[in-house]
Amino acid sequence: MTTYIIRRLLYTIPIIFGVLLVTFLLFNVVGGDVSAEIAGKAASKETIEEIRREYGFDKPLFFSSDSQFIDHLKNAVTFNFGRAYDREPVTAKIKRGILPSLSLTVPMFFGLLIISISLSLVVSFVRGSKWDTAAVVICVAGMSIPYLSYILFGQYFLAYKWGLFPVFFSPDLSPVQYVALPVIIGIVSGLGSNLRFYRTVMLDEMRSDYVRTAFAKGLTTSRVLFKHVLKNAMIPIITRVVLAIPFLFLGSLLLERFFGIPGLGYLMIEAIGSRDFRVINAMTYISAILFVIFNLITDICYALVDPRVSLD
């Protein structure tokens, strides 16, 4: 077991290195020298030169002991992301954004999880009936409406027209107030695909032999569903949940953009608008690390829980 965990840990090193290579290729090689862009249109040659030196664009790209790539690796390992193009440290920006983002994504995620799992149990209870078909059709239809339409129409009708919620974030509102509508929109827009996923999971379990045995010994449908099926369906559900956690830290790009919530998603949108590669680089790297860590946790949990997982 220990050797398995160590091997699994070592395997994350090439992955992290790969992520750093991708971000380097994207932002330093393809993106190139953006010091003139940072300095602005009216900047003098000296200013541009100074910025070029600060961001290290004057160094060779790869093959030198003092190359941009070595700097990139060093910065990543020490979590030193430097200053964004508006001169504020990237780390400070990210720290500021985490809380608003989490206050949006955590209730959204758990709300969606609870609602779609309970609905999927109901749907698998009535499987094969007209209600089941109707549920699937509604799910597919819900998945086909573009995400932006949910947000725009939700904001327009619920907040702007009917005044049920505040339209935009403002600092004097309580978090519950400004987060309520985005959370509702997020849940409604994600319900289609989630419900369909959990329904498939539940129905896959329904076909197993142990369900037939449970029915054969005379258990009621509800007892089979809640006692046996739900317990066994927990494995795919937990996988999905654990792997979704890193994304909670990312916030929600579009929801934060529309409701003006100053989280990490908003930070990304701003960075994209101003082509701030430093911020995008830091966000990409941090989220990849989180993803790798949670992936590792899932694998180790599997090995701990499920005796069939081979440790080779």
Partner: protein
């Protein structure tokens, strides 16, 4: 008992003729199953309609036919007119017909989704097949590349590509508008198909037909491209009928974020316009784009599911 088995037994016990029953290929069988699903065929027709519209717009643009959607920039009325019999979806700020813009948007969206599919197929399928066939060091490198890409959240990766690629010159062409969008989508979304093909090729490479091909002295390239890939290609079709929807939605989001076409109408650009218009009570442009996206997504989702049910041998149990 499956239908195939029943035909075989019927033939074997029936007339007792010497000639063996004619087997159906996977494709013929799949198509026959698909044709029985009337609703899926309706959806397929809707998808075809969208494609026909896009193709027609290309032709019209090429031959300079003066049809409605090509003249989308023409002023047909006053600005922000409500939907009426004349203009089904009303007019936008410049008095242009929203209906024409929506039709024209099909061309942009489908072009982006097609090009992105093409790019990700061209990268993903050969890489997956090569990794699965050769295993060893080559496999490890390819798996490393896609594990790396898949550990970066998809939306960040796609945005990073789009930001970097915009206004760059590639082989002498400036990447403006939709080129950056489909490159960003294509270059980031080959991972899924690559993983799928690799897994399937690993299962196939020890089967008898590959052994036979090898004993004939087929070259490795021939085995991979002439024998292995055609035998797993139905998975690619299934995967892409569903992934195509995701590409259309990605185009909308990227256009909305300002990466898309700036001078021609696309569904994403229309939604972006609608963001400001909604506060003035102008909802028709938003509705038109939503409806256009909704129908092609719905049709593709349903058709893709039906396709999977009829082509994937593992699911054919009815």
């Amino acid at each position: 008992m499956t239908e195939k088995e029943s035909t075989i037994t019927a033939c074997a016990t029936g007339a007792g003729k010497a000639q063996p029953p004619k087997g159906r290929s996977l494709w013929a069988d799949g198509l026959r199953r698909l044709r029985k699903r009337k609703f899926a065929m309706v959806c397929f027709c809707i998808v075809l309609l969208y494609f026909a519209l896009a193709a027609f717009l290309y032709l019209a643009e090429f031959f300079d036919w003066q049809v409605g959607p090509i003249k989308w920039s023409e002023q047909v009325g006053e600005s922000y007119q409500k939907p009426s019999a004349q203009n089904i979806f009303g007019t936008d700020i410049f008095g242009q017909s929203v209906f024409r813009k929506t039709l024209y948007g099909a061309k942009i969206s489908l072009t982006v989704a097609l090009c992105a599919s093409f790019i990700s197929l061209v990268i993903g399928v050969p890489l997956g097949a090569i990794a699965g066939y050769f295993r060893g060091f080559v496999d490890e490198i390819i798996v490393w590349v896609y594990s790396t890409l898949s550990s970066i959240p998809y939306i960040l990766l796609i945005l990073a590509f789009a930001v970097v690629l915009r206004d760059k010159t590639l082989f002498g062409h400036k990447l403006t508008g939709i080129a950056a969008v489909y490159l960003a989508i294509g270059l980031t979304s080959w991972v899924g198909i690559c993983r799928l093909i690799r897994g399937e090729v690993i299962k196939h490479k020890d089967r008898e037909y590959i052994l036979a091909a090898r004993s004939y002295g087929c070259s490795k390239g021939r085995i991979i491209f002439k024998h292995l890939i055609p035998n797993v290609f139905h998975l690619v079709i299934i995967d892409f009928s569903l992934r195509f929807v995701a590409f259309i939605h990605a185009e909308v989001i990227l256009s909305f974020l300002g990466f898309g076409e700036a001078h021609r109408p696309s569904w994403g650009a229309m939604i972006n316009d609608a963001r400001i218009e909604l506060s003035r009570g102008v909802w028709w442009q938003m509705l038109a784009a939503t409806i256009a996206i909704f129908f092609i997504s719905l049709a593709l989702n349903i058709f893709g599911d039906a396709l999977r049910d009829s082509l994937d041998p593992k699911l054919r149990t009815e």
